[in-house]
């Protein structure tokens, strides 16, 4: 991928109240970088979902988000990184494998039906929602020390 024409980097402690201003900031950044409000809305939703997961399930006091804009091609790349527990990292890997297989809409509906019957307080809908609603390429990277990075590339 070519060099981005603009990027933002946000780093914050795992506090729920910071997600909403981060979402608005990302939305405004993309709207200005690409002049595409619909794409800005979609990516702001997607990064918000990733940040929610990072804050909810993070094992450390650090959530890191980078959003890069490539105006020449209209591509946006966003990644969210946090440290998870060993079990958390395993769960996100399993969920990723499940959601990325098959049709995006089918996977989303299956996750919605499962979410409706869950009793553990989790929804596990975010990744399926992102994949279906943004048509993004979604990549997962888990390091041996359980650092989890989810990257979305929206064309």
């Amino acid at each position: 991928m070519s060099k981005p024409d603009g990027y933002i980097e946000i780093r914050f402690g795992p506090r729920w109240k910071y997600i909403s201003p981060a979402r608005v900031f990302i939305q405004n950044f993309i709207a200005i970088a690409l002049s595409d409000q619909a794409k800005a809305d979609a990516i702001a939703m997607a990064t918000s979902e990733l940040l929610e997961n990072a804050v909810k399930y993070g094992a450390s006091e650090d959530t890191h988000c980078i959003v890069q804009a490539f105006p020449e091609t209209g591509v946006i790349q966003a990644s969210v990184t946090n440290h998870a527990t060993e079990q958390g990292a395993r769960e996100v890997q399993a969920l990723y494998n499940k959601i990325m297989s098959g049709d995006p809409l089918e996977a989303y509906i299956v996750q919605m039906r499962e979410a409706a019957t869950r009793t553990d307080g989790k929804s596990q809908l975010g990744l399926a929602r992102i994949r279906y609603e943004t048509s993004a390429d979604v990549k997962l990277d888990v390091t041996p020390d359980h650092k989890v990075t989810i990257t979305i590339i929206v064309k």
Binding site: A38, D41, E52, I109, M112, A116, S123, R129
Partner: protein, 126 residues
């Protein structure tokens, strides 16, 4: 007050009013649903609406999301849970959820139509 005597909800950044309308009932959502656990607010509200719709045999409820600027996936889970309750009802107790949405809000255009796939015939997006 509405025919089911459901009180309005105002929590964090969302306000939900339940009002009577010509066809039955309307739940009107305004603001953002982006709290960590929206089920605390939404599950009891949807349960009251569901029980009331069945008890009073009201055929339609409008879920008006026109004024809802953001809904996280935990909020979608709560709505899906409500919709899935309709799958369990016998035919003579069924009602329909009509979703009113705002085409100028991107997430509403992409998220809300997917809810129609959960229980065939239970949800209509208008």
């Amino acid at each position: 007050m509405n025919k089911l005597n459901i009180e309005p909800v105002h929590q964090d950044k969302v306000k939900i009013d339940v009002v009577d309308n010509a066809e039955g009932l309307m739940a009107k959502f305004v603001g953002d649903i982006d709290m960590e656990d929206p089920s605390i607010v939404l599950d009891p509200l949807f349960e009251k609406i569901h029980q009331g719709m069945v008890a009073k045999k009201i055929p339609f409820v409008v879920a008006d999301f026109n004024g809802l600027t953001f809904l996280n996936s935990s909020g979608i889970k709560a709505i899906a849970k409500w919709i899935m309750k309709l799958a369990m009802l016998p035919p003579d107790q069924k009602y329909q959820i009509r979703i009113a949405h705002n085409k100028a809000i991107t997430w509403q255009v992409t998220s809300l139509p997917t809810l129609t796939f959960l229980v065939p015939g239970a949800v209509k997006v208008e």
